[in-house]
C-alpha cells in the first residue's frame, strides 16, 4: 500500500501554491487518490506557506498528521513541521541555504540535501524555480519514471510556448536525476502507476463548474478568501461559455446585481465569505420578497469581523439560516466533499428557479481551497444525470396570451408563473414592499397573511424533492457521528481507519440543513447507541439546531474553532474515548 504525505513549505511568493498543485497532478496521473490542502497567512509575500499533498492507492478522504516527505525551502519550514514527521520521513532541502544536522532527528529520518539553487544556475533558470527542481527531486523519492512530470508540464505550460515548457522540464528533470542518482535506493516509498482514472478538482473549482453546467450566465463576485477560486474559475471559462463575471464595487452591489440579472431572466450567482455576506443581508430579503431566484455561495472562515481570513471554520451556519429581517423561505445546503460541491451547486440553481427562492451553498475554506481526486466516472455520472429545470417561466407565447398578468398570483403551490422583462403581455411589478398579486404596495392584514403563506408554501413543495441526509457505515454501531459540510472528509477517513482496527462507527451527514430534515435526524438519534456531533465552531451551532428542531439531545460533541481542519487522528481518539 502507498500512502504518502508530502509538504512543501517556504516563504510566500515562491510559487508554493503552483508547485503543490503540480504534485497533486502528478499523484493523480499516477492513478492515486489525492487530497491536498494549503495553509498560508493573509500576505502576498513573506510569511510561511505550506502546501500539503497526500496520495494513496486506496480511496482516502482527507489529510493525516504524519508527514512523509518534507520539502523545506527554508529553515522555518523544518522548525514548523519537524514534530509532524513520520518515523521514516525524508527531509528535502538545499544544503547551501538551510543548515540541517542528522543529530537533530532520529536516525530513521532520511536527509535529502539537494542543491536546488545551484541546479537552477546550472540549467540557466531563474532562482525562483527552485520549487520546480524540488518537485522533480520529490518525484524521484517515490517513482522511477520522470515522463509523468514532463507530460504535466506540457499541459500546464504548453499555452505559454515551448520555451517555458523547456525551462520547467530542464529544472525539474535535473532535480529528478540528482535524487534518483543519490537517494532513490534509500527511500522507503515506491509508487506504481495504477489504472484508476481520477480528476483532480478544487472545491471552489467544483462549485464553479457546477454553476457553469447549471447554465449560470451572470456572476457578481467581490474577491474574498476563500471563494476567490469560484471567481477565478468562472472568469477563466467566461468567454467560452458566454458568462458575464463582474467584480462589483462591494458585496451590496454584488447581491443586488445578481438579483437584477436573475429578475431579467438569467441564472445568476453571488459568492462571498462571512464579511461580505454580512453586507448582502438586506439583499437576501429582497430576493425573497420579490421572489427572484438566487444562488449565493458562502465560504466560511473564522470571524468575527475580518477574523482569521485564510483559515477554516463552520461558524456561519446560524447566520446564513437566519440572516435578514423577518421570516422567509430559503434553502441552505452544505456540500460535504468535492463532488458534492459540484452536484449541490448545480442542484441549487434548479431549486432556486423552480421555487423562486434563495438557495445558499454553505462551504468553507477547507473545502474551497483544497483539492481532491474524484473518480472521473462518478463526476461524469453526476454531470449526465443533471437536467436543467427552470420552473414556471412563461414562454414568449404564454406571456403574449396573458390578458391580466399578475406576477404574484395566488396559486396552489405558491409558485406564481414568472414573466421576463421584454415579454409582451408579461408586464408586471416586482416589489420589495409587501404587495398584492400585482406587486403593488398593499397594507391589508388579510393580503399580508396570504402573501407570507404563499411564500412559505413554496418551501413546503421544495421539501418534497430535497435529498434526505446521507448515512455512511454499518446500520448498527456503538457510535453515530452527526455532522454537516466538510467535516465529512476527516470523518470518513477516521471511519476507514477505525474499520481496519475492527471498530465500526457510522456517520450521518446532513447536507440540506434548512429546511431541517426533522424526521430523519430524530430517527437517527433515536436509533443510535451514542451520538457525537462534530462541528467547527465554538458554541455548537449545529448541535443546538438539532436539539431545537427535534427536541432531542446529542450525547457528545467535538468542536474546533482554532482555524484548523479536523484531523482523522483527533476523531479516532475522540471515538475511542467514548467507546
Amino acid at each position: 500500500m502507498v500512502d504518502i504525505a508530502w509538504i512543501i513549505g517556504g516563504e510566500a511568493g515562491y510559487g508554493i501554491m503552483t508547485t503543490g498543485l503540480m504534485m497533486s497532478k502528478i499523484m493523480t496521473r499516477l492513478g492515486l487518490f489525492v487530497f491536498d490542502y494549503v495553509e498560508y497567512p493573509s500576505l502576498i509575500r513573506g510569511g510561511h506557506n505550506a502546501y500539503y499533498v497526500r496520495a494513496s492507492d486506496e480511496q482516502i478522504f482527507s489529510q493525516k498528521r504524519p508527514v512523509d516527505i518534507l520539502v523545506a525551502l527554508n529553515r522555518e519550514t523544518i522548525d514548523k513541521h519537524k514534530t509532524e514527521l513520520s518515523s521514516n520521513a525524508a527531509i528535502l532541502y538545499d544544503p547551501n541555504v538551510t543548515k540541517v544536522e542528522q543529530n537533530e532527528f532520529s536516525s530513521s529520518i532520511l536527509l535529502v540535501p539537494v542543491p536546488l539553487l545551484e541546479i537552477t544556475k546550472q540549467v540557466g533558470a531563474d532562482r525562483l524555480m527552485i520549487n520546480t527542481v524540488a518537485v522533480g527531486a520529490s518525484l524521484a523519492l517515490f517513482y522511477n519514471d520522470y515522463q509523468v512530470l514532463q507530460d504535466i508540464l506540457q499541459s500546464i505550460f504548453g499555452r505559454k510556448g515551448e520555451k517555458v515548457v523547456a525551462v520547467n522540464v530542464n529544472t525539474s528533470k535535473a532535480g529528478f536525476d540528482y535524487v534518483a542518482k543519490n537517494f532513490a535506493g534509500k527511500s522507503p516509498w515506491k509508487a506504481e502507476k495504477k489504472p484508476q482514472e481520477n480528476l483532480l478538482v478544487g472545491g471552489a473549482e467544483a462549485a464553479a463548474i457546477g454553476a457553469i453546467r447549471a447554465g449560470v450566465k451572470f456572476a457578481a463576485i467581490y474577491p474574498m478568501t476563500p471563494i476567490n477560486g469560484v471567481l477565478n474559475t468562472l472568469s477563466a471559462h467566461a468567454l467560452k461559455y458566454n458568462i458575464v463575471v463582474k467584480e462589483p464595487e462591494d458585496e451590496i452591489a454584488g447581491i443586488n446585481m445578481a438579483i437584477g440579472a436573475s429578475y431579467a431572466g438569467v441564472r445568476s450567482l453571488a459568492a462571498t465569505s462571512g464579511g461580505g455576506f454580512s453586507l448582502m443581508v438586506e439583499g437576501l430579503g429582497l430576493s425573497a420578497q420579490t421572489e427572484v431566484p438566487l444562488v449565493v455561495i458562502e465560504g466560511m472562515r473564522p470571524g468575527p469581523a475580518t477574523g482569521f481570513p485564510t483559515w477554516t471554520a463552520q461558524g456561519d451556519l446560524r447566520f446564513v439560516m437566519h440572516a435578514a429581517q423577518d421570516d422567509f423561505p430559503r434553502i441552505v445546503v452544505a456540500p460535504g466533499d468535492f463532488l458534492e460541491a459540484f452536484t449541490y451547486t448545480m442542484e441549487a440553481f434548479n431549486l432556486a428557479e423552480k421555487y423562486q427562492l434563495l438557495v445558499i451553498v454553505l462551504v468553507d475554506k477547507y473545502l474551497m481551497e483544497g483539492h481532491a481526486s474524484v473518480t472521473t466516472e462518478k463526476f461524469k455520472i453526476q454531470n449526465a444525470k443533471f437536467k436543467i429545470e427552470r420552473g414556471k417561466i412563461l414562454s414568449d407565447q404564454e406571456a403574449a396570451a396573458q390578458t391580466d398578468y399578475k406576477r404574484y398570483a395566488f396559486v396552489e403551490d405558491g409558485v406564481s408563473p414568472r414573466s421576463i422583462p421584454g415579454q409582451q403581455g408579461g408586464i408586471g411589478l416586482s416589489g420589495s414592499d409587501e404587495h398584492d398579486e400585482r406587486g403593488l404596495y398593499n397594507e391589508e392584514a388579510d393580503n399580508r397573511v396570504k402573501m407570507m403563506d404563499k411564500r412559505f408554501k413554496k418551501l413546503e413543495e421544495a421539501i418534497k424533492e430535497i435529498p434526505a441526509p446521507a448515512f455512511y457505515g454499518e446500520k448498527e454501531a456503538p457510535i453515530t457521528i452527526v455532522g454537516f459540510g466538510s467535516t465529512k472528509l476527516p470523518v470518513l477517513e477516521a471511519m476507514r481507519w477505525l474499520k481496519k482496527e475492527g471498530v465500526n462507527i457510522n456517520f450521518f451527514q446532513v447536507a440540506f440543513l434548512h429546511p431541517f430534515p426533522v424526521d430523519a435526524v430524530a430517527q437517527t438519534i433515536k436509533n443510535a447507541k451514542k451520538t457525537l456531533v462534530i462541528e467547527g465552531n465554538k458554541t455548537g451551532q449545529f448541535e443546538g439546531l438539532i436539539r431545537e428542531r427535534t427536541g432531542l439531545s446529542i450525547n457528545h460533541n467535538f468542536r474546533k474553532y482554532d482555524g484548523r481542519p479536523f484531523y482523522p487522528e483527533e476523531i479516532v481518539q475522540k471515538v475511542k474515548e467514548l467507546l
Partner: protein, 296 residues
C-alpha cells in the same frame, strides 16, 4: 405607436400629495416614453425607496422596486443581461446621494448604458421631513436641532467627476424641458443622469416651486457648450452653495444639459453579449467536458 393610454394602469393611481413634484416627473417620463415610441414591455423602471420609489407602480412597463439606495446595481445587471431593454433607474436624493452614492459613482465610471432619473427634493419626505444629503446648508428641520452645517452633495459635479457621459438637471415645474431632457438621456448610449429638482410640497418649506421659478435658468439659453467639461464643472459649481448665502445674494440654478460625450459603454466591452442577449442564450445542454478534460 405607443400612446399615453398604453402606459396607464387601471387598477391604481398615484397617491403622492396633491401638488407634489413627483407628479411632474411622472408625466414627463411617460411623455418621453411615448415620444421615443418605446414598447412598454421593453422598458424596465427600477426604483429605490421613498416617494419616488413608487413611480413604477403607476406606469405600465416592467417595474422593479428594490431596496433603499440600491436600485442601481440590479438595473446595471438588467441592462447587461438583456441589452435590448431600456433601463431607467428612479431614485430619490436619499437613494442616490446618500445610501447609494457609491453605486452611482461606479455605474458612471463604467458608463453603463442606462438612465438615472433622480427626484431630488432635498429632504426626506416619506419619513416626515429630516434633512437629506442635498438639503441646503443652514436649513433647520426635524433631524437638526441647529441649522445644518453640512454642505450639500452636488450631484452634477459628482456625476461629472465620476465619468458620467450625459449629465443634466431638470425641474419638476417645467415638464416640457424635463421631457426633452429624458428623451435625450434615454437616447444617449451610456450612463445618463437627470438630477431633477422636485419640490416636496409638504415638508420642504424652503425649496418650493415658487422658489425655484425665481432661480432657474436654461443652460442652452446662455450658449453653454455641453461638450466642454471644464465649463460644465463651472456651471455645476454655481449651485448648491457650500456656504451660507450672503446678504442680498440670490442663487442661480442652471437646468438643461451640462455635459455629454461619446465613450464606449460597459456593454460594448463585453463580447459575451455581443450577438445574442444573454437572456436569449440557451442553457439546456452546457457541455463541460472540455473543462473536465483539463482536470487531469
Amino acid at each position: 405607436m405607443t400612446t399615453l393610454k398604453d402606459l396607464e394602469i387601471t387598477y391604481d393611481k398615484p397617491n403622492w400629495c396633491p401638488g407634489c413634484g413627483d407628479i411632474g416627473v411622472w408625466v414627463s417620463l411617460k411623455n418621453a416614453i411615448v415620444q421615443l415610441n418605446l414598447n412598454p414591455w421593453e422598458v424596465v423602471l427600477v426604483s429605490g425607496i421613498g416617494c419616488s420609489g413608487k413611480l413604477p407602480y403607476w406606469v405600465k412597463t416592467y417595474g422593479f422596486n428594490g431596496l433603499h439606495g440600491r436600485p442601481m446595481p440590479p438595473a446595471e445587471a438588467i441592462s447587461l443581461v438583456n441589452h435590448g431593454l431600456t433601463v431607467i433607474v428612479i431614485g430619490g436624493d436619499g437613494d442616490q446621494y446618500g445610501e447609494g452614492m457609491g453605486h452611482l459613482v461606479h455605474a458612471a465610471r463604467r458608463n453603463v448604458n442606462l438612465t438615472l432619473l433622480v427626484h431630488n427634493n432635498q429632504i426626506y419626505g416619506l419619513t416626515t421631513g429630516q434633512y437629506s444629503p442635498t438639503t441646503d446648508i443652514g436649513e433647520k428641520n426635524k433631524a437638526t436641532p441647529v441649522p445644518t452645517v453640512e454642505s450639500p452633495v452636488n450631484p452634477i459635479s459628482v456625476a461629472l467627476a465620476a465619468g458620467a457621459t450625459f449629465v443634466g438637471r431638470g425641474f419638476a415645474g417645467d415638464n416640457k424641458q424635463e421631457t426633452e431632457l429624458l428623451v435625450s438621456a434615454i437616447k444617449h448610449k451610456g450612463f445618463s443622469i437627470i438630477d431633477t429638482m422636485q419640490p416636496c410640497v409638504t415638508f420642504n418649506h424652503k425649496n418650493t416651486f415658487a422658489w425655484f421659478y425665481e432661480r432657474v435658468y436654461k443652460l442652452e439659453a446662455e450658449g453653454h457648450d455641453p461638450k466642454d467639461k471644464a465649463k460644465a464643472f463651472a456651471r455645476a459649481e454655481e449651485w448648491p452653495l457650500k456656504r451660507m448665502l450672503k446678504e442680498g445674494e440670490k442663487e442661480r440654478i442652471a437646468t438643461g444639459i451640462f455635459y455629454r460625450e461619446e465613450r464606449p459603454t460597459w456593454q460594448d466591452g463585453i463580447p459575451q453579449i455581443g450577438e445574442t442577449p444573454l437572456v436569449k442564450q440557451p442553457i439546456d445542454n452546457v457541455d463541460i467536458t472540455p473543462i473536465l478534460d483539463e482536470l487531469v
